[in-house]
Symmetry: C2
Subunit: 95 residues, 2 copies
């Protein structure tokens, strides 16, 4: 068993209102960033788990999304490997 | 000016408690996913903006993070290009 770090991105579906995204969009524009066209806010869940292979880890995370992490009516999700960035480790703010 | 789609990931810093991540971790374990080691929950902000170049777009998003998107005391951020996935478009739940 190997430890894999996965990244699950959960995003509001396109048709849906996203009040948090709208609020950020307006804030950015009033701060002078007029070139912003659209802002959408989602969640990212970092999961570290033990699995036999990368494929098995991804499959497990996808099953988790279907079962409890994402709402199929309002959200889309995307599972990917977060190579070299364990959930508990510092990613480092870009400086 | 070209339209770029960026993805800003904001994550609680390692030392900090993450109650939402802990709650998800426990939920996953009680549903039988015992191989999960750690769960951390962050935000992902999809930003579509007009810029001269990819570098300029990334720089703008980094400035936004420093100014209002991320809390430097409690969060780390990471800016990347979301190639081919405009903020308003369907990413498609993996099926």
């Amino acid at each position: 068993m190997t430890r894999y770090s996965l990244e699950v991105r959960i995003k509001p579906r396109p048709g849906l209102l996203d009040p948090e995204g709208k609020a950020i969009h307006h804030a950015l524009q009033s701060l002078g960033w007029g070139a912003v066209d659209e802002v959408r806010v989602g969640k990212v869940i970092y999961i570290d788990l033990e699995a036999e292979s990368e494929a098995a880890a991804t499959e497990t995370a996808t099953a988790m999304c279907r079962k409890i992490l994402a709402n199929p009516v309002t959200e889309d999700f995307q599972v990917s490997m977060a190579v070299g960035v364990p959930a508990g480790k510092l990613e480092g703010a870009q400086s």
